[in-house]
């Protein structure tokens, strides 16, 4: 069945799960409210799957994050491919032991005898007034942990292709979905076509400065690049797609060409992914840079509720623009 020309990220991930479940009986889905009796997820990402594949393979769970991830780990080490949903990224904190001490480490600690081919789907992102415990970007914690991969798509088509790869991957993958852009339509993917993990995408070619981002803030980088083009600044935009493993080759090649780099993410700036990328750029390209590497991230505070505060908390187009100009100083 062909997809409509444009679909949103909810439809894209739903289609990826559907295609993966149709292709492999070992793919199972578990998480809070994921079954159709519970409306197929609070925003409907898993809608229809339990009706199609049965309650044994698509399981709504108790609100028990440790038990959800533990069940996924156990099933994964004996050959199933669970896709476990942790409703919101902040709730991964409740299951950190299972994710960090177990999912990420069992391959190494067992000397390669077991491995954990599971996906943890989770959504997050500021913009819906959900305040301090429902909107954090915590990817740096997981990227800091050896043994787990971290994926953060920025478009429906990428979400589809990356999800297919994540499910097929033999290592645990944390799959971060941005909630506020769930309903934003984009060009539909080609059915069955996977996007490899660990490979960044150059969304826009440029010669003067490289903008490096992932997840929702890629869209902001594209908007700023478009604006700057009007005044003759040629910005290259790189969508990392996968944060760990990081495609250093692609962004280093780009920065070697442009001599300038700005890293943009919604996570707070201190100790973030941007710091790692900036360090890698300095280590490799110190003498070739034409200006200081810049980082743009959210304000170093919990995500606030009040709308004006929330709007000011996350990176703005202006901040990205200012950062780009700072690389020319």
């Amino acid at each position: 069945m062909n997809l409509p020309a444009k679909i949103n990220t909810i439809q894209a991930i739903n289609q990826a799960l559907d295609d993966a479940m149709a292709a492999d009986v070992n793919v199972i889905v578990l998480g809070e409210d994921v079954g159709d009796r519970e409306e197929g997820g609070i925003v409907g990402v898993t809608r229809g799957l339990s009706s199609k594949y049965g309650d044994a393979r698509v399981r709504s769970t108790p609100i028990s994050e440790q038990a959800i991830i533990g069940a996924a780990i156990g099933a994964a080490i004996v050959g199933m491919r669970p896709v476990a949903e942790i409703m919101l990224m902040n709730f991964t904190t409740v299951a950190m032991d299972m994710i960090v001490n177990h999912a990420a480490k069992l391959r190494f600690m067992s000397g390669g005898q077991t491995h954990v081919p599971m996906v943890i789907r989770t959504m997050t992102g500021a913009g819906f007034g959900t305040g301090g415990q429902h909107a954090d970007y915590l990817e740096a914690w997981f990227a800091h942990t050896a043994g787990i991969k971290v994926v953060a798509p920025s478009s429906p088509a990428d979400a589809y292709g990356l999800m297919l790869s994540a499910i097929e991957d033999d290592d645990p993958v944390l799959f971060i979905e941005n909630m506020p852009t769930y309903w934003t339509p984009g060009p539909a993917p080609e059915r069955g076509v996977k996007i490899p993990l660990g490979k960044a995408s150059i969304l826009r070619e440029g010669t003067d400065v490289t903008l490096i981002s992932y997840s929702r803030r890629v869209l902001d980088c594209c908007a700023v690049a478009e604006k700057l083009a009007a005044e003759g600044i040629s910005a290259e935009v790189i969508d990392l797609r996968t944060i760990s493993p990081l495609d250093t080759e692609t962004f280093l090649a780009s920065v070697a060409k442009t001599g300038r780099a700005v890293i943009v993410h919604e996570a707070v700036k201190p100790f973030g992914v941007g710091a790692e990328i900036a360090s890698l750029i300095y280590e490799s390209l110190y003498g070739q840079l034409k200006g200081p590497v810049q980082r743009v991230g959210s304000n170093y505070a919990p995500v606030p509720f009040s709308k004006p505060l929330e709007d000011a908390h996350v990176p703005s187009l202006e901040q990205i623009e200012v950062a780009v100009r700072a690389t020319f100083k």
């Binding site: 069940a71 156990g74 099933a75 600690m109 067992s110 000397g111 491995h115």
Partner: protein, 327 residues
């Protein structure tokens, strides 16, 4: 349904596992004292009965998840001694190429799927092993071993609830040795018996004398049969005592000496040995032969370990992901 009293062959099999645990433990402590091997070591001495009786109800295909204080569970499930000792010695020939160590032994061939160093974490993962078996329509069961202290951590409650809601083929075996690290049971736990907690999750809960091989076997038999028949999980609380404190080198100052002496006076291994001989289920010669064979096997395992190489440093970059990484 009540399980039948086990026959002599099963009982001698339980003793074989018990003495295997005891003899290995004695050698581990001796080798540690000699300085030939260095490792964090949690002696299972005094707790031999529980996994020996439980394992008598399991096959190689059945899974266990155990904990860092679980060398007896591993031995009872049948991990070959060479592989086990070499892992404890950090050698390349160990079960996990020396990369896991005593607290993280894995040996899928005998169903030892995960050994966790985190209190309480064996249970949620055992659920997952059981879930896979349930979805695939397999008859195998999963056992989660843990201590009394672990019944106070959230993962215990989450795991028991989920297992009951989904009727998973899992057996939760709590080895209640009276202490969580240095803290006495009564000072940390609000119920008289851990098994009471099963009621909160609508599953059978039984407290047994974990130093009585027959009672422990019967409880395990019933729980395993129940799980195999698709009737769901059970919680077994087996009361026991650890003879040598929490970790090797622990001076036991927090333990009551009289309490310890009283438990050690009824050491379950010689007690069961004498009982088998007295009831005519085994002869002195038979058991002595069996023990001597184990002793030789341990000699060989120690020798094998000490003569085995340490892992190649390239292992630092292997088994992190499927593909080698060198960041």
């Amino acid at each position: 349904m009540t399980a039948a009293i086990p026959d002599g062959e099963i009982l001698v099999g339980i003793y074989r596992r018990m003495t295997r645990i005891k003899q290995n433990d004695e050698r581990f402590r001796a080798v540690l004292k000699s300085g030939k091997l260095v490792m964090p070591y949690y002696s299972p001495r005094g707790q031999e009965v529980i996994p020996s009786a439980v394992s008598a109800c399991l096959d190689d295909e059945d899974y266990i998840c155990t904990i860092y204080r679980g060398v007896h569970d591993m031995i009872a499930k049948g991990i070959p001694l060479n592989d086990l000792w070499a892992e404890f010695g950090g050698r390349a020939t160990g079960t996990c190429k020396g990369k896991g160590g005593p607290m993280h032994v894995t040996h899928p061939g005998t169903g030892v799927m995960v050994t966790t160093g985190i209190v309480g974490s064996s249970m949620p993962i055992a659920n997952g092993l059981a879930l896979a078996a349930q979805i695939r329509g397999e008859k195998r069961v999963s056992v989660a071993y843990f201590g009394d202290g672990a019944s106070n951590i959230g993962a215990f409650h989450e795991a028991l609830n989920m297992a009951s809601v989904w009727k998973l083929p899992v057996i939760f075996v709590c080895q209640n040795n009276g202490y969580g690290e240095h803290t006495k049971y009564a000072n940390s736990t609000a119920v008289a018996n851990i098994a009471q907690r099963a009621a909160s999750y609508s599953m059978p809960g039984i407290t047994v004398d974990g130093n009585d091989p027959v009672a422990t076997y019967l409880a395990a038999r019933e729980a395993v049969d129940r799980a195999r028949q698709g009737l769901g999980p059970s919680l077994i609380e087996a009361k026991t005592f650890r003879f040598h404190g929490h970790v090797f080198g622990d001076a036991d100052a927090y333990m009551d000496k009289g309490e310890k002496d009283a438990w050690m006076a009824k050491d379950p291994v010689p007690l069961f040995r004498n009982w088998l001989i007295k009831t005519g289920l085994a002869s002195e010669d038979q058991l002595a032969t069996l023990e001597a064979a184990i002793e030789l096997e341990i000699d060989e395992a120690v020798e094998f370990t000490l003569n085995s190489p340490y892992p190649d440093l390239a292992e630092l970059h292997r088994d992190i992901y499927k593909d080698e990484v060198n960041v």
